[in-house]
């Protein structure tokens, strides 16, 4: 699904519209943050964030550097500008990926289980970070996850997908003030409702 929105794969049927225009190929206005950090090991942290910016026309060198610095600051990694990728922890790598995806200023950010491989503590930190960034930059974020709490914490709309074939089954609107804490009771109530729906979905699929 995410790959189709990104334009990396073609849909079997139907089409994806972005601003009324069909999506046929990958484009800068829809950037992807992958499950594993797809950072380039031949570039340092700064070079990675610059990569997408260099492909954006009409930017002076100074512009590009300022933008890259701004986003590294935003994800809290200014001090690691010159670091090599292998020197970073898993959480830091995903932060750099986030900065790299945000830097070219896409309209939509596509996130494919970006925190799945991280430890719980780092993940909770990033929930906070991403809500802050979302507030500051006002991006549409499409976030794929298997973690119901994560979905309830980050999403305004939570869409439930059925397995094989993957179809949208149900939609939940999460109306909680931000920033949300993943461990809050209100959030748990939403999560319980969504989990219930998810379970009944599994049963119909099995039966």
């Amino acid at each position: 699904m995410l790959n189709i929105i990104a334009g990396l794969e073609k849909p079997d049927s139907g089409r994806v519209l972005a601003n009324g225009k069909p999506v046929t190929s990958p484009g800068r206005e829809r950037l992807v943050m992958f499950q594993e950090p797809a950072l380039f090991p031949w570039l340092n942290v700064f070079g990675n964030v610059l990569f997408g910016l260099k492909l954006k026309p009409n930017l002076s060198k100074k512009n590009r550097h300022d933008v890259a610095k701004y986003y590294l600051e935003l994800v809290g990694l200014s001090r690691f500008e010159r670091a090599n990728i292998h020197e970073l922890s898993g959480g830091m790598k995903q932060r750099v990926s986030l900065a790299r995806a945000l830097a070219p200023n896409p309209r939509v950010l596509l996130m494919d289980e970006p925190f799945a491989a991280l430890d719980a503590l780092t993940r909770e930190q990033l929930y906070g970070d991403i809500q802050e960034i979302w507030k500051a930059r006002r991006k549409t974020i499409v976030f794929v996850t298997h973690n119901v709490r994560e979905a309830a914490c980050l999403g305004d709309r939570v869409l439930l997908f059925s397995p094989h074939p993957g179809r949208i089954q149900e939609e939940f609107a999460v109306e909680l003030p931000r920033p949300r804490d993943i461990n809050s009771v209100d959030l748990a109530a939403y999560a319980t409702r969504i989990t219930k729906a998810l379970k009944s979905l599994g049963q119909t699929a099995a039966g």
Partner: protein, 255 residues
């Protein structure tokens, strides 16, 4: 510093053992000259210019052939990695020819080009080319697909993708191919120079050959030393820094 001292002691002991063996007269001095004789040959050859001349000629042949091998091999490797047609044809040929010891090109080169510089160049190119083709192809095919996908979403395509993503991602493979190509080229050139007298230039291999003809063991050993030193220098000056950089960047361990 300690490591340097230990190494110095090791080589000093080696020299002493050599000198001792010479003094003990176990072998005839014709077969085993003393280190001093070798050193004095080196000094004379350095002073009268023979050594510098031969080194320049050999290095010129080596670098010209190596350069051609790289310039042709790199694009060929990219082509074989990109298109099946090239993989099945040029790729297969490269794999086959790479297993051929590069010395085996010498007889063919002689018959085709005669005793000319072209024959030398051909042998060196053949020694370099196939390793570079194969390493480039392997490198490109080992680039994790996720790099490509990430770059695609950021708007990279075609030439930009090849130059800024695929080539740098394949660099560790390509560099080890270049190193292997260098070793093969060096070996094949020495073989060619020893077998073939070419009047347009008297290289290190030829000095080695005439050392043997004249039973001048001091010359033979001296030239061998020079060849070893050139090999070491090429590694330290050219390949070592590149490899160090790659290790640092990629975080691969360094022995």
């Amino acid at each position: 510093m300690k490591r340097f001292l230990l190494a110095a002691v090791f080589f000093a002991v080696l020299l002493l053992l050599w000198e001792a063996a010479f003094r003990a007269r176990i072998w005839s001095p014709v077969l085993l000259p003393s280190p001093w004789q070798v050193a004095s040959y080196l000094k004379n050859a350095a002073v009268d210019g023979t050594l510098a001349n031969a080194t320049v000629i050999t290095m010129r042949r080596l670098l010209a052939g190596y350069f051609i091998g790289l310039v042709v091999g790199l694009p060929l490797g990219l082509l074989t990695a990109r298109w099946k047609l090239f993989r099945d044809t040029i790729g297969t040929m490269a794999l086959g020819l790479q297993t051929l010891p590069s010395v085996c090109w010498v007889p063919l080169a002689l018959l085709w080009f005669g005793q000319t510089e072209a024959a030398m160049l051909f042998v060196v190119v053949m020694g370099t080319l196939w390793s570079v083709v194969i390493a480039t192809e392997t490198g490109v095919r080992n680039v994790p697909p996720i790099y490509r996908r990430a770059a695609l979403t950021m708007g990279s395509k075609r030439l930009h993708m090849w130059l800024k993503v695929i080539l740098p991602a394949a660099l560790p493979f390509i560099v080890s191919g270049m190193k292997q190509g260098w070793a093969f080229a060096w070996r094949s050139l020495m073989a060619a120079e020893i077998f073939v007298t070419i009047l347009t230039g008297f290289g290190l291999g030829q000095l080695l050959h005439y050392g043997r003809e004249l039973s001048a063991m001091d010359q033979v050993i001296a030239i061998m030393l020079v060849i070893v030193v050139i090999g070491l220098l090429a590694d330290k000056i050219f390949f070592s820094p590149i490899e160090k950089f790659l290790h640092r960047r990629w975080g691969t361990s360094q022995a």
